[in-house]
Symmetry: D2
Subunit: 258 residues, 4 copies
């Protein structure tokens, strides 16, 4: 059965020339762009995956957004963790259905979306953030993608520690992750999955030193580069410019009672 | 509660110097390595995340394997899709709990593991493979990681088409993916998620031409590079050599009735 | 002895915040920027490598430009060959003092500058270009950097062949380099150095097929990526965005009498 | 005129399947390989760029080596500076005919070869090395490629400073380059070209801090990646594995009298 677009759904409208619009369908509303208007009512209760025509005669494609779309189109006020990293984090930290995962800081909630999808159904994401405004933004982003109920948003300085214990995985995207390794260890299961992202080599080195000091094992550091290509078959080549850096990923496992 | 290792579980034994051993726990068996023996019975019904000592006095860490570990340690006789790609595929093709996904070919089953984790619980992976020996290998790999029941393995030349219709996503890892776009379109939902990986630029160009011809939209091509770093904090630097290439990833969406 | 700036020299003025200005010194002229004016007369016959102060009190550094600066600041109306590639080309194609080298097309003359520096003194660059306007631009760029006399600029469709024979090296930066391999072979010494740059994989594949057909040996293809870092010591990290692609480099050697 | 191979020349013998042999031609000697013997006398005074046949009937191509070949085939006992970096260094540090350049340490002499080619004729490379055995190796490598007379090899701990002053460029490939910035500044012209290569991010950060402290300007850090491709036109793709890292390049200019 084709997916039907429902009122309240967020869908992706893709213009013929590749512009992407994420819109939340509401009865009686209209989508406006340079390529014309489309009434939401013409989309609601209709199958996705079809062409729709604006009042100016331009084609759009109404599509179900992917997890990638949801993450990339979340409103952001911070550097986010991109899908090239969050997809890898899911597999590396075993973020599977039913898992209990801590994340700090919440930021705009981009990684939170990926984690919430990964632990669904049956799992839970505990997401810590110090700043109220960021938390409010993430709250809204999670509501928008209907993952809000999977996540507990907590406003807290994590220096005070985490409420949860025996979590399966814990990910730090904070300025000085090496300062919170004791707190992380207390929250994680023995042998749980620890991960972090840091933008600078200095932070990566400091975190590595901390992981060594705290006797984490299976320590790994990497960076992931995504290089997009132009899609003209007769002229296949990478695009001119790409993201050169988002961050260094670190992974490790705490060992009990050492 | 700490995870307990059970008989029949596959666990990761990590030596102090970073060697990784995946072993399936069986009552009465022994693990052997250059660093000494460990009786499986000393591990069964014990919490994971602990240090164990071999009869030669060497330390090992008994850990729950991650999805990444399961994928990388699956027995292989083919080039596999690595976690750096499969994690991205999960988000890009919306492989979430409950999804119905077709994959061809099965190969060693490395991507199958990632897809099966992604659709669990409630979803299903239909994995097509022409060669009986490859299918048998994938069968064994899926059993080993306890994902066999999520997957239907089918031995078939996909030129004949797929049995399923209205699937959410379909991924091709076959020699000439551009030859199977009609079959893919018939199996996929309108607006479903199509993906493929090809090793050469010539295949990527041929597939792009096919996607254009078949009026798929939202076409993207990329490659993903993972660059590992050495983990010495005082001497942080990339490793000397890395994987330069696994493949080009292509993504697209079929549109109904065009 | 410190380098003295002379009237007619092109020098690099570097502002305190890293803006780069290439100026040609002329008696009585003034340099203008947001950070104030500097009279050329205050620079002429003065040692380079010194700080100069604008009339608004801002610091600038007067420096001798490097070959890299000359190439990057040449006026351009085309995609140029960047120093990350041209430096490699110099070593790979043995562009040393005294060498005779053919290049086509001239384009904006960026690679011409690198080649002219490489063959100096005693060598010669024969640079072919079909378009008069591009040739005029390159002419001006070469004059500006005082390498004009090393280069013979020729306006010509290279399908008609090259005037020179027995050249040491020949580099093609044209749309369809695989169409000119016979002409290249006739111009090159037996065992000479052939090179080319192409933006697309399709062109690279076509050129490889041509080189195979024409029995060139020692064929190599590569791409070179330069990843710049931010220079804050406490926050060392790559820049946010980088050039993802300039082109594929191909190298080969023609064999006599096969 | 075709290049003639002379007794005493180093030439490149390339086998049909791409194996590379650098040999020094001597009257009466023989080249031996799995693919058969070739008498040096059959090569001496013959034109290069021709096919030669071994006594087992296998084809070889006799070629003039490029600067790239000379660098890569120099005997080494250390990590060397590769052509992907040394080519860029030549342009970035304005290593042109007539330039006077200091290098430390000499190591195996791979960068020394590139610098010597760059400054020829009329220039000079002053190359410092603490270890006598390394110096002897570089001595031999430079003799082999006939660049020995362009280079002054000095055995010295550079903490004592350099003998030369007012050099155009100075490059450090030593363990702790940040400790020698005062010495470098005293040897360099005002506004001269300073460069260094370091393998780790920690050293790069320390050197950046030193350059800031010593008021060098125009500071840049980058890394250069070379990705080789397989050369089959119907299956164009990168090789499986590549060099992931050689080092971070740093460049800067000292300013007089600040």
């Amino acid at each position: 059965m084709a997916d039907l677009a429902k009122a309240g759904d967020t869908i992706l409208l893709l213009s013929q020339d590749g512009k992407r619009f994420m819109i939340r369908l509401e009865v009686g509303k209209e989508f406006h762009s340079h390529r014309g208007k489309i009434s939401h009512d013409a989309l609601i209760d209709q199958p996705l995956g079809h062409r729709v025509i604006s009042h100016l005669g331009h084609s759009f494609f109404a599509l179900k957004p992917s997890a990638h779309d949801l993450i990339m189109h979340a409103r952001r006020r911070t550097q986010i963790v991109y899908p090239k990293e969050s997809g890898y984090i899911l597999l590396k930290m075993n973020i599977v259905s039913g898992a209990r995962v801590i994340e700090a800081g919440t930021g705009s909630g981009a990684l939170t979306i990926a984690l919430a999808l990964g632990v669904s159904p049956g799992g839970r994401v505990y997401s810590y953030e110090e700043r109220a405004d960021m938390q409010a933004l993430a709250d809204r982003n999670l509501l928008q993608v209907r993952l809000r109920e999977v996540v507990e948003l907590k406003q807290r300085d994590i220096a005070q520690g985490f409420d949860e214990t025996e979590v399966d995985a814990l990910f730090l995207d904070v300025r000085e992750p090496h300062q919170y390794l004791e707190q992380a260890r207390r929250a994680l299961k023995a042998g749980g999955f620890f991960g972090a992202v840091v933008p600078t080599t200095n932070q990566a080195a400091a975190l590595l030193a901390g992981l060594e000091r705290e006797a984490f094992v299976d320590v790994e550091v990497c960076e992931i580069l995504l290089r997009p290509y132009k899609t003209v078959p007769q002229r296949l080549r990478p695009v001119d410019r790409m993201v050169a850096h988002t961050g260094y990923l670190l992974f490790a496992r705490p060992i009990a009672g050492d």
